[in-house]
Every structure is written in C-alpha cells, then in structure tokens.
Symmetry: C2
Subunit: 527 residues, 2 copies
Amino acid sequence: MPGKTAEEMALDQKEISVAEFFEKNRHLLGFDNPAKALITVVKEGVDNALDACEEAGKLPHLKINIDDLGENKYEITLKDNGPGIVKEQMPSIFGKLLYGSKFHSRRQSRGQQGIGISASVLYAQLTTGRPAIITSRTDENSITKRFKLKIDTINNEPEILHEEELDDGFEPGTEIKIVVEGKYLQRYHSVDEYLKQTAIANPYAHIEYSNPEGENFDFRRAIHELPPEPQEIKPHPYGVELGVLSRMLKGTESNKVLSFLQNEFTRIGRTSGEEICRLAEVDPDKKPKNLKHNEQERLLNAMQKVKIQRPPTNCLSPISEELIKNGLAKEIDAEFITATSRDPEVYRGNPFQVSCGIAYGGELEERETEKVTIMRYANKVPLLYQSSSCAITKALEKTDWKRYGLNQPGSNGIPKGPAVIFVHLCSTWVPFTSESKESIARYPKIVKEVKLALQESARDLRRHLSRKRKGKKEKRRKKIFSNYMPLVLENAVELAGDGQELTIEPIMKRVIDEKLVEEVEEGDEDE
Amino acid sequence: MPGKTAEEMALDQKEISVAEFFEKNRHLLGFDNPAKALITVVKEGVDNALDACEEAGKLPHLKINIDDLGENKYEITLKDNGPGIVKEQMPSIFGKLLYGSKFHSRRQSRGQQGIGISASVLYAQLTTGRPAIITSRTDENSITKRFKLKIDTINNEPEILHEEELDDGFEPGTEIKIVVEGKYLQRYHSVDEYLKQTAIANPYAHIEYSNPEGENFDFRRAIHELPPEPQEIKPHPYGVELGVLSRMLKGTESNKVLSFLQNEFTRIGRTSGEEICRLAEVDPDKKPKNLKHNEQERLLNAMQKVKIQRPPTNCLSPISEELIKNGLAKEIDAEFITATSRDPEVYRGNPFQVSCGIAYGGELEERETEKVTIMRYANKVPLLYQSSSCAITKALEKTDWKRYGLNQPGSNGIPKGPAVIFVHLCSTWVPFTSESKESIARYPKIVKEVKLALQESARDLRRHLSRKRKGKKEKRRKKIFSNYMPLVLENAVELAGDGQELTIEPIMKRVIDEKLVEEVEEGDEDE
C-alpha cells in the first residue's frame, strides 16, 4: 500500500495563526454574508467606542457614516469622543486578533474577547484589499496620530503601511475608517435597526448616523449622566476549576494558603478561609506553590462546600427599570410601558442580572396579528441574529402568554400582539454561543431568571389590559345607567315622597360611580 | 469625573493566547457539559486516529476504553494502529492549540482545525488537573516514545512533565490516555451511540470499545479495503477572495501572472489563463508581485467571469450507495434499505458531495409513532448535537414526507415513522457553525443538494411502501377470489358444458394471478 509515513506527515504539521483560523472561519465572527457583515463591522466599532467612553467617564457621542461606494463596497467611518488610544497600542488593538484589555478583566463590558474590531479589519482586507485607517488623539494637548494598517494574517501581527502625525484640529477621540464588501438592507436586520436598539439601551449616549441612502438619524440623549462604572472583581470560589486554581496557586504572591484564599478570591474572609483549609485538611500556613495535586483537589472541593456569600454586584451595570422605560418611550409611542429588574444571580461563579420591559399598543396597534417584536440585549448590546438558539428566546417561548393577555398559538412559542418585549442580561462573562456574540447559551439558571423577569412585567401588562377591558365595559354600563337614571329617579322620588329629589339623586350617582368600579375590580381578581 | 486615561488603559492591554481563549470559551469546542465533554474527547481522538490510518494507507483498528474512576472522573484510553507520530511532533500535536497538518490542506479529512485533540488535553487539565499521556511508535524497528504533558495555557505551548523511551512491545501506532470530568449516559447522545454511528459510516474500520459499565462492543469490518485516498487540490478561482489572492500573488514562485494562474489554481489552463488576463487588462508577463491594487481587483473579477470547469472531485472521499447500504444493514435489521449518492457540487469554491440512505421497518417497526432517527455525518464523522441549526436537518424538515409515505405532522418538520435517515456530506472544507463541529451552516446550495438526495431515496421508499400496501391488498383479493373460485368454476363449467374443467381452471388461475398484479402496478402510477 502507498500511504504516508510518520516522517512524511511531520513535514506538513505546522502552527496555524489565529488570524488565518478566523479568516477561513469568518462566519464564526459574524461575517457569514454581506448584509450581516456590514452590521457586524458597525457593531464591533460601536461596542469599543461605548466601552472606551464609559471607562474614561465620558458621556458617549458617536458619529457613524456609511458610504455606498458601489459594487457592494461600503466605507464605514466611526468617530467617538472617547479617551483616545496611545500611539504604541494603536496597531495591536486594530491589527491583531486576541488582543485587548477586557478578556482578563472580571467586570461587565461590551467587548470581552479582543477579536471584534481586528476581525473587521481582517474582513476588510479579505474582501476589498483595503487597509484600515485609524486616527486617534488622547486630549487637546496631544498630537493626532494616524495609522494605515492591515493584518499580517500568517503571523497575526499588524502590518503598518503608513503612519503620520496630524495637526488639523481633530477632536480628541478615536476614528476608524474601513472599506468592506457588504450589503445595506432596510429591514429588521439592518444597521438602522441595530443603532436604534443601541440607543434604547444606552440612553446616555448620543449617536449620529448617516446611512448609505443619505438619511440622517440623530439618536439624542434621554439622560445626561453615566451609570455607575462597573468595578472589577476577583473570582468567586464557586466558579473556579481545578486547572485555574492550580495556575493561581503557582502564580500567587501570597506566602500562605490562607492569605492566598483571602487575597485572590472575592468573599473569602479569615473565617471562611480557615474553614476551607480545615475541611480540605490543608495547612493554612503552607506555601501555595507547594500544594500537591491531591491537596489542590481537596482545597477545591472544600471551596465548593463552605457557605460563601454571593459575589458583589458592583461589577455589573444593569439597565434600571427607569432607564428601560425611558429608552422604550423615547423610540416607541406605546399606550403602555412597564419594566422589571431582577436581583443579581450567579451562574458558574459569574454574576449576572436580568431586566426586561414591555411596550404595548399605541403605534404598535397595527401589528396586532403579528408576532411580538423581541429586543434581546447582552451587556447593553442588541443581539439581532441567532434568536432561536438564545436563552432569552427560549425563556420567552416557555412563558404562558395567554395568561397575561397575549395570543400564543400552540402551548408555547413567540406570542402575537401589538407589543415589543425588551430583555437585557448583563454579566461579567456572557456565555455566548459563538464568537460572533449573537446568542446567549441556555444555562438553566439564566433561562429561569429571564422567565421570572418576563412574568413580572407580564403581570403588569395583564393588569393594564384588564383595566382597559373593564374600563370599556364600565363605560358602557355607566352609559346605560345614566340613560335610565332620570326614569329611575322619577320613580324613586315618587315612592319616597315629594321633596326627596335632592337627597336621592346624589345617592344614585354615587352608586353608579362606586358600585360599578367595585365590580370591575372584583372581576379583575378572577382573571 | 474620574475615569481612566488612554495611558492608564494602555497598561491593561495585552495579548490573549488562543489556549486561554478556548479555556474560557470551552463550550465553543463541545465542552459545555460533562456528558457532552466525554463524547467530545472520544470523538476528537477517533477523528485523528481514523485520519492518520487512512493517510498512511492502513485499515484502521481502534481500541477505546473508558474507565469510571468515580466522582465524575473518567479515564479514556484510545489506541490506533496508525503510522505513529515522530517524537519531535508529539508535544505540539497534543499540547498546542491551532497546530496540525489539515488546516492548510485542501482535501477531505475529519479534523480540519488543529484544535480538537489539544482541546481535550486542555479540558482534562482544567477539570482534573491531570496530564495527558501520549505513547507512539512509528514501526516495528523504532523505539516507543512516551510523553506526559500539559498545556501552558498562557503561552499556548506544550509543557512536558516527563518523557521516556520504552521497550515493551508496544504495537506500532499512537495511544492517548486522559482523565476528564465527565458523565456517562446510555442514551441517544452517548459514546456508545457515537461509536455505532461511526462504525456505520466507516465500515472498513474495526472498532473495539469497552464502556464505563464494562460492556464490550466489537464493531467489525464490513469491507476490507480502504476507499481511494482523497487527493489534495489547489484553490478554485471561483472561491478565492481578494485578500487571499493578494497574499498568493506576493508569495508565489511564478515569475509571470499567466504561469501564476496556471500553477496556483486548479482548472486554469493556458487558454483560460490568457482569457482572464485579457479581460482584466493585465499583462500576462507581468511579475505577480508587481500587480497594483486595482490590477489585483480586475484580475479577481475576471477570474469570476471566465467560464472555468468545476474543481476535480478526487479531493473528496464520499460514502458510496453500496457502503451506506452495507453500513446500515450491518447495524439495523430493517425490512427495506435504500441509498443515493449525488454528483459533487461546489459552494464558495469548495467541492462537496451529498449522499443519503433510508432504512425502514423490520426492527424499527416499534418506533412507528416516533420521529424518525436522523443520522447526520460530515466527512464520515457523526454529528450528535445542534441538530436544529444544521443544514441537513433543515433540508429534511423542508421535504414533503407525506408524499413519500411517512407521517409528517404540520406542513414541514421531522417526519414520524419506523425509519432511520442517514445523510452524509463531505467536503474539503465543511462550513461548521462552531469550532465544536456539530452542525453544518445552512448554505442554500448545501440545503438544496441534501434535499435532492433525500427525495431520491424517498422515492425508493415510496415505491417499496406502495408495493407492500398493494401486496397486502392483492393477497386479500386473491384470497377472496380463491375462496369463490370453486363456485365460479362450477358455474362456468356448467355454462361451457361438461369436460371443460381442465381448460377453464388454469385460465381462471392465470386471470387471478396476472390481472390482479397488473391492476396493482397501474395503481402505483397514480400515487
């Protein structure tokens, strides 16, 4: 038989750069098709810009422009008023995949992987061969720097084609300009819709946008204050795994196991630290580096058993009920809006928090027979794709909407009715189902929290619908009573004797007003 | 306002190793939960073993053993009779993510990313802290090498804990032994089922398997010959993108554009090469390196416009109709089995080919009211998860099964009935929806081919069912005729006159046999 030998095979074996990997697998990053690609580029730019502004404590102001260059090519320009980027970091941030500040940090941010924006640069050079142009200025006193760069795919390193310093009054912040193959659509899955949803969830951001058709959008601020900045936290003992613990033990600067536990984890104090050591039968004074494999295992097991407080939640930046209501009201002229925010929860040691809102009726009335519109968000970023595999959609489908007054064909599924349902999940680590970050993995704990949030808001909706319905009924009954009142009054007065009109009429009126209202409210409870 | 400056932010920015990335995102690689993790480890090992054996021209013989170590820990041992691995390559192949021979090669193989097996090692050390033990020997004349290794996650490099040479009669081939946290289930999604499906699609492989309960399985060969080895091909001009073309032009050893086109692409000859240059208005004698951006663009456009033959398909190793029938018959005792193989097609320049099979009735009869069992395969590897997002499932749901005799509640969806439906797609590059390679992206061209294949097999099924139904009817009618025959005969004889019994009886019998069969066959056409 022919066939290769081990030596021949060895010649073919080599390293694959992560840039090559994602170039060939670009659909994993959201570059499946031209329409989605255009949205993905804008999304990655907006994510980074908003993160940077917030981290710098600045109210975001974004200017986005998409030019149709013909032949399915689009030039996207995105400028922010963020803190800018120091010159040395500019090439790596835009020209290297898996590079950034958020991956290793345990706090809520939009970006988390260090792939997004450089993947856009990669996609640009792959489809149009054009370099990205990055301009940044850190403040009024500094020089503006500009790089023209590509990615050296084989090595996953930035390839700088040109760099210069400018003195042209560029307003501090960062601008990226790239040309990609794309397709502009004006549908539910569009850049326009994406930015509208972004504006709803980030009402403290001012977003100006000019689409390829030359239409201008100005999503102005609904509030003028940044939400509190999420704080970085240490890992929680319940979420750590053996391999990670082992690495932490090796790398720690603490001299004793006890101080290691207290210093490197959140929510471990002296008492719980001692209890862990006792349970694990590990000497609390031992050097962390010297723990043997089975001691590490026992330590991990003990850490899972000792009762430890939930992680702090100041690492999260949820969207408050007030903000959701404001955001929805700003963009949708509905007859009724409600919102709910749940308490924080934890999955695999990662804090997360769910909030949701429902807008009903008003301008939505015309969508009476359609499925409700679902707005899914993770860490304030709208999720437009892969809805069917998302924990949010699953929870929504498993909710019994008939109980709450929406039409739901079949026993579960997306309900129908003139409503927009908004769901936001924030976490220090959102478990996305792919690198393109379009859908949240269905951890049972997450699905449950989303369902509970939806039910809370749904109860408000039911109350509203019930009141509305009863209101209509009551009005009709009042009208009938009022029509007959003169006749009844006449008879009553006749029975009561002359001179009683003045006493009886107000009584009758009171009966109509109060009695009817009472009946309506009792009926409400029977629903 | 507080907030960070650009300089402060720069301190946090750093490189993320691909091993760190996948450690944190291990669900992307199929390590979402313990049950799936166990299957994934076996799967990655089997993929590599079968690929290596076939590449070396050896009939695969795999021995797999899973030991339950208690506390949700399992030791997996997988030994193959492949070509072995040279010592220098052993650490990188098992201890480095994105390393291998298949990523850059344009031919069908099970592995394609250089992630799978090292991800299993990563998962093992993360969950149990235990190193992988790799043993390999290339042939009878060489020494056996053994490595104990982990992955240095921060640097994505192998960390060798121990290495040794053995002289203990280890049979040539490679063995991997790892300990992972897992969960053994005996359900549809199980290692047992995974290996059974693997045996069906690879009937030239001998697979011995001992599960954690101590049960032994011996999937023996149904045929004793390897399929023709898939050949490596060059890229097809229709599938190339500007960024890749640009890189190829820079890196080529050809001195002229014309020879570059002929040498570096499949299916471009002198004539089509010249036509491309003419259409692109590019001098065919120009040095490839010297092409300007707009010349490159014109060249690419011209490459898409000139009529070029489809790529050759000897890069593929489809499963023939014969093999599918053999494979299904070997594992399922069905009353009827059929199979179809389509001609190769091309998506984005990548050749692919679909084949399918249906097994019906027999031992499946008891599943009459259940959904049919779907066996999805890509490059001979069973796909157990993420069925709902897969191109194969989509095509199956969109097929009108009622027409073919299966029950299909609603207008589309998975049909019900006592059947197993087998679908195999092979390609030089299967577009998986995630790194865990569980589901094929729904390219319209792929969905269409799967549907056409299913319809072909479904027509065979319909013919069978129709014959079966008519057969039953016919039998019943024959019986009635036969019952009445003596009476009819008696009367006929009476009418015809004495002494005619011997003539009439055979005529009557012939009428019953032939006439009824004829009616049945005519009826078939009306279906």
